[in-house]
């Protein structure tokens, strides 16, 4: 007879750390981070195509380190909540209008690469130098050459998730001027490439074609539309100024 399931409170897979030798990433550790979207600044939106049906503007999310001594994060005393470490920079970010995705922001499996379980956007992998933190869309590894860390990013699902943050209202649509800045920079790049008469013609033509494709994509890009992508995180909390 099996064990009655009622007796298995909060059952979860046993952590086998320390019992089983598992290879660790041959890398130094790093710090956990928030994902932050700075609003109304240049470069806070970008045009992506990978994983999307058409060129789409998506918000840029930057890592903000949770590391005492960096960017306003402080060391707390042993009886203070750990969240006090970053309370002040968090408040300052929100005051400036930045949108901070909380650490417990839930990401549905549908918005993640295949095989990655639903949960927070911040993930950690055991490395020889401690925990190596990365987003749920990144797979960290040691570079084939040299001794540096690198990540393989599933850009398609990452792009779709960022689009869903807009359609679900977590991140508001930008001012038209922010999108216009993206377009004007793409045009300026095309002008630069096209006017580079000092390089061989075939190379200039190839560079120009690439820059023109980029301009075309940026011109055609639209803001994410509701429901063309996997559903937005339902348990997500909105944190705005």
């Amino acid at each position: 007879m099996g064990i009655p399931s009622d007796n298995l409170m909060d059952s979860r897979p046993a952590s086998l750390g320390g019992l089983v030798d598992r290879p660790k990433l041959p890398l130094p550790g790093n710090s956990p981070f928030f994902l932050v979207h700075y609003t109304d600044v240049g470069g806070s939106w970008e045009v992506v195509e990978e994983g999307m049906d058409a060129p789409t503007f998506v918000p840029v999310l930057q890592p903000y380190p949770i590391r005492p001594g960096a960017a306003g994060v402080r060391t707390v005393s042993s009886d203070e909540p750990r969240s006090r470490m970053y309370a002040r920079p968090l408040a300052k970010l929100q005051e400036s209008g930045a949108i901070v995705l909380p650490l417990d922001f839930h990401v549905d499996a549908a918005s993640l690469p295949a095989g990655v379980v639903a949960g927070p956007y911040l993930r950690e992998t055991d490395a020889q130098g401690g925990a190596f933190y990365h987003t749920a869309w990144d797979t960290p590894r040691k570079a084939i050459r040299g001794n540096a860390a690198t990540v393989d990013c599933d850009r398609a699902s990452y792009n779709r998730w960022r689009a869903s943050l807009v359609t679900s209202g977590i991140i508001p649509e930008p001012r038209a001027a922010v999108l216009e800045d993206v377009r004007s920079r793409a045009l300026r790049r095309l002008d630069n490439v096209r006017s580079a008469t000092d390089i061989p013609t075939d190379m200039r033509e190839a560079n120009t074609a690439t820059a023109r494709r980029r301009v075309d994509a940026v011109r055609a890009a639209t803001l994410p539309q509701a429901n063309p992508t996997p559903s937005a995180p339902k348990t997500a909390k909105k944190v705005t100024a």
């Binding site: 470069g43 930057q62 380190p65 590391r67 001594g69 960096a70 990144d138 040299g146 990540v151 990013c153």
Partner: protein, 317 residues
């Protein structure tokens, strides 16, 4: 007892009374590590010391709306009153954090060690670890610059650098000196792009932009921007978070360890100007020695209205 038959062979002797290898005495080579000192390079400036202040934060004040930032109004009539102008103010905070590194060893290790790896030897390298920490804190902080200058859809190239130079030049008050800290892979991408610009392929410029740099950190100057490289540059979402700024945009504060009181029982090493205190502890009961380095230092950014600053975010691959 092993018998060595004549002729005596080295191969037989080695396994019975010889040795397979011989260590060079007193020499141990440290593995390759980045030795890029951002303080010496002027990439980070001190804003001071919180010791004795009652706070873990140094707050710097800034203001605008007067002097060069405020031209006089042209008045239409002889008697028109001049409208009084406001002055805009703000603050920037640099907060220290506790950084630490410790080593311990058994008495027996201390007795037997012949590789210069006693904890007392390792204590001498704590300052190097501190400088590595400072660099890492600088890179963590630089990754929080809000305005991105590079095209995030591609790897870094000459056009990004032209755009970055323009962003600096279009910032009113920019004083003409800018530095950038990039990931080495970003530097490689930029160099590849430079390689395809024919105008940059004259022998002198080719050598200037493409040569390998022995000096830790600094790579080369391109379009007037001094380019440094560090593996500490953040990597997230498949992108590197390099950054460029006017020196002064990133600063550090320390908690001086000069007045910590009596630490003579710990036989300390103090580097007050960097907030470092190294203490030692010996425990006869467990036959161990230990050395602990604490450093009280923090790195922060000052407002972009004071120092031009841009993120240089580009594809990792």
């Amino acid at each position: 007892m092993a018998v060595l038959n004549s002729p005596l062979l080295a191969a037989d002797a080695e396994s019975s009374i010889g040795r397979s290898f011989q260590y060079l005495p007193g020499l141990i080579r440290q593995q390759l590590a980045e030795r890029f000192d951002v303080a010496a390079g002027g990439l980070i400036l001190s804003v001071g010391d919180v010791a004795g202040s009652g706070s873990d934060t140094i707050r710097t004040r800034r203001a605008t709306g007067y002097g060069w930032s405020k031209a006089m109004a042209s008045l239409a009539s002889e008697t028109q009153a001049i409208a009084a102008s406001p002055v805009t103010v703000g603050v920037d905070d640099i907060t220290i954090g506790r950084q630490g590194l410790a080593f311990s060893e058994s008495f027996q290790h201390a007795i037997q060690d012949d590789a210069m790896l006693k904890v007392d030897d390792l204590a001498g390298y704590m300052v190097d670890s501190y400088l590595a920490t400072l660099r890492s804190l600088l890179c963590s902080t630089g990754a929080t610059f809000a305005t991105n200058s590079a095209d995030p859809a591609a790897t870094l190239d000459v056009n990004d650098w032209i755009a970055l130079r323009a962003d600096f030049e279009e910032t009113a008050g920019f004083d003409g000196r800018a530095v950038a800290v990039l990931h080495p892979v970003q530097v490689a991408h930029l160099r590849s792009s430079i390689r395809s610009e024919t105008a940059l392929q004259y022998p002198e410029s080719f050598e200037l932009y493409q040569r390998m740099q022995a000096e830790a950190g600094f790579r080369f100057t391109f379009l007037g921007i001094d380019i440094y490289a560090s593996q500490d540059v953040s990597l997230s979402g498949g992108d590197y978070y390099g950054f460029a700024y006017q020196p002064g945009a990133i600063a550090y504060a320390v908690g001086s360890t000069a007045q910590m009181g009596d630490l003579s029982d710990a036989n300390p090493i103090l580097v007050p100007e960097w907030g470092i205190v190294v203490t030692r502890k010996t425990d006869g009961q467990s036959a161990t020695k230990r050395v602990d380095a604490n450093a009280f230092v923090g790195v922060g950014k000052l407002d972009p209205s004071l120092f031009a600053q841009f993120l240089v975010r580009s594809n990792a691959t």
